[in-house]
């Protein structure tokens, strides 16, 4: 099914030619490559779950910020309440410059500037929206967050009270209310994602020097405590 769709999109692209408008369907296969930029936060496909960002199955035609189990920014909730339904044009505008579209969105993504790239990416995502009944059979394309952390680290239950004290060090730069301005939001992350990210800094896999230094002196229990605290923060 997926393969067939991809072929049809490729054909369409060829007909459409190289000059693309924001409402054209792009190349889903190329979109799958571009999607790698998104998958550290978003899952899509069979069994996709909400992670740092919401899962993206059925995003086309869905009211913005409408999945009950995900905590969205105020901007996106307001947009959804005002009647924003995600379609090709709206998603393209959002992905082009998330902050310009929804000022306090927690989607910490710099934006995808080229319209052709956005069309390809959205062609890929549309596969998981066009025929929701087919999703269980879809390829598990987006098992994001591949990591090789010792599973016992992920089973540590963090002490949110200790996390609250430790968090004061984070809050010199990161905002407790989740706003992002030059520095990403760290509130309301799933605990596992938080732990994986911090260990990636600790092992210097992620590049930022301040974060490498700060994470470097936190032990496994302290990272778990921070993850527990930040996952519980209210907006």
């Amino acid at each position: 099914m997926l393969r067939m769709l991809r072929h049809s999109f490729v054909a369409l692209t060829l007909i459409a030619g190289p000059v693309m408008a924001a409402d054209e369907i792009g190349d889903a296969e190329r979109g799958a490559e571009l999607y790698k930029e998104c998958k550290s936060c978003h899952q899509v496909g069979a069994g996709a779950k909400n992670r740092v960002g919401p899962q993206l199955n059925g995003i086309f035609g869905r009211q913005a910020a409408s999945m009950e189990k995900f905590r969205y920014s105020k901007s996106l909730k307001r947009a959804g309440n005002d009647g924003l339904i995600w379609d090709l044009e709206k998603l393209s505008a959002y992905i082009e410059n998330p902050k310009a579209f929804a000022s306090d969105t927690r989607m910490n993504y710099k934006g995808m500037k080229r319209v052709g790239d956005r069309n390809d990416l959205l062609a890929f995502l549309r596969v998981y929206s066009d025929n929701p009944q087919d999703i269980p059979e879809a390829q598990p394309t987006a098992r994001a967050l591949s990591h090789d952390i010792d599973p016992t680290i992920l089973t540590i239950v963090g002490d949110p009270e200790y996390g609250e004290y430790l968090s004061s060090e984070c809050l010199t730069c990161h905002r407790a209310d989740g706003t992002t301005e030059g520095i990403p939001s760290i509130t309301l992350w799933p605990e596992e994602d938080f732990v994986v990210a911090m260990h990636a800094y600790k092992r210097k896999l992620r590049p930022h020097p301040v974060m490498q230094m700060l994470a470097g002196r936190l032990n496994n229990e302290e990272i778990a405590a921070l993850a527990a605290y930040f996952s519980l923060l209210e907006e």
């Binding site: 004290y165 060090e169 730069c173 301005e181 030059g182 301040v210 490498q212």
Partner: protein, 421 residues
């Protein structure tokens, strides 16, 4: 202020007690009292965190004479034209509405035996724990010819606000091709990269408005913070504009003549158009008042920032002698959180966790050319000791430098929200 406290306490009877409280010692049933003097990066953070985390169990009073606090950090960016002065000002309304008793007055006396702070406006405030975060004052006679009386002719602009505005106005009034002189302070002093970021920002300003002007830096120190990064940046952006005279050539023997607008370096008289004198510094005078200084600074125990002379007094930020941390707003904010936890623990039996400190200092060299240095620290018996650190590298690409600048802007919003609520 009264209304907020009434709301916070919830009952009229309690409110009446608290309104009269500054004049009398609290009874045995009253909440423990913390008084904080100085509402900057250290004091504001401590007041806010103790109030927030004690959830009403501790009565917190912040004594700060000014109603609006202008951050010294980022004030160089105002000189460079990257920030408006108003964007550096922060009020205490939010903190007051969260329950901190904010008193806009001068502390004029500290009685350590009676545990009271006397206010210029009359009355005194009792404390169980006193936190001093007064920042810096200048050493008399540190630069021959300069005193506070000459700060209008030769501004220090090292406490942000009207002094910074004055310096910017003087730069704007410089004749074409004129000379801007900066007399740098000896160690230790507030914000080690500060004078050199200032030179960068003044150069940025002059490059646009007065491109033939010169900058003369008179420096008593052989080395300075982020030196290789600044010198690389000055060569890239402001080639030929900046001359620095170190101690080898008389930078440590400078006299100024504010009336004549002259500086004397190693016996040679230089006529200048603007002279920014940043004298040697010491702990803010509130520390002298409390008699907790030893020499220029107030020594503290690293684990909780308590004074080595009085365990009911804690000293935060620039005024403290603590060990390896630089004197910065970030450091003061970090120390305040450790202190807040320790003070809460002592007064309410809340849990006390091991002290962790950190600092990062960003500096801007030119548009989108940001650099940073930072370190983590821990408490030892002897001092706050450095654990690990990093610094930007020379030759970094433009994208990384822009990201560093954008990060600093985010940090500014973050720390001011963290301080003021």
């Amino acid at each position: 202020m009264k209304l907020n406290r009434r709301l916070f306490l919830g009952t009229a009877a309690a409110a009446t007690a608290s309104l009269s409280a500054p004049m009398v010692m609290g009874g045995s049933h009253s909440r423990p009292r913390v008084v904080v003097i100085g509402g900057g990066a250290g004091g504001a953070t401590a007041a806010r965190y103790i109030n927030k985390d004690s959830k009403g169990e501790i009565d917190v009073t912040l004594i700060e004479p000014t109603r609006r606090y202008y951050t010294c950090f980022f004030s160089n960016l105002y000189l460079g034209g990257f920030r408006e002065m108003e964007s550096l000002g922060h009020g205490y309304g939010s903190m007051a509405s969260q329950g901190v008793n904010v008193v806009h007055d001068w502390a004029v006396g500290i009685d350590r035996d009676a545990k009271t702070v006397a206010l210029a406006g009359g009355g005194s405030v009792p404390y169980d724990k006193l936190i001093l975060s007064p920042g810096i004052d200048f050493m008399d006679g540190a630069v021959p010819g300069w005193s506070l009386a000459s700060q209008n002719a030769m501004p220090h602009a090292y406490k942000a606000g009207s002094q910074t505005e004055l310096l910017k106005a003087q730069i704007a009034a410089m004749p074409q091709g004129g000379t801007f002189a900066l007399v740098a302070p000896p160690n230790p002093f507030r914000c080690p990269p500060g004078p050199y970021e200032r030179i960068s920002m003044v150069a940025h300003n002059l490059k646009a408005n007065n491109p033939t002007a010169k900058i003369l830096v008179l420096d008593p120190k052989p080395k300075f913070s982020k030196q290789a990064l600044f010198e690389e940046g000055w060569a890239n952006h402001y080639d030929g504009m900046i001359e620095r005279i170190g101690p080898d050539f008389g930078g440590d023997a400078v006299e100024v003549r504010p009336d004549a607008m002259e500086v004397v370096v190693d016996g040679e008289v230089e006529k200048v158009d603007v002279c920014n004198v940043i004298p040697a510094m010491k702990a803010g005078r509130v520390c002298d008042m409390a008699e907790v200084t030893d020499g220029r600074w107030a020594p503290v125990n690293a684990a909780d920032m308590s004074s080595k002379m009085d365990d009911s007094i804690h000293i935060l930020g620039d005024a403290s002698a603590q060990g390896d941390m630089p004197k910065s707003g970030f450091s003061a904010n970090s120390q305040a959180k450790v202190c807040a936890m320790a003070v809460r623990g002592a007064l309410t039996d809340s849990k006390v966790f091991p002290a962790k400190f950190s600092n990062t200092c960003w500096s801007l060299i030119d548009t989108d050319d940001g650099i940073k240095v930072g370190a983590t620290y821990e408490a030892t018996d002897e001092k706050i000791a450095k654990v690990d650190g990093f610094i930007s590298k020379t030759g970094e690409d433009a994208d990384l430098r822009r990201a560093t600048y954008e990060e600093s802007v985010g940090w500014y919003s973050g720390i001011t929200a963290d301080m003021m609520g």
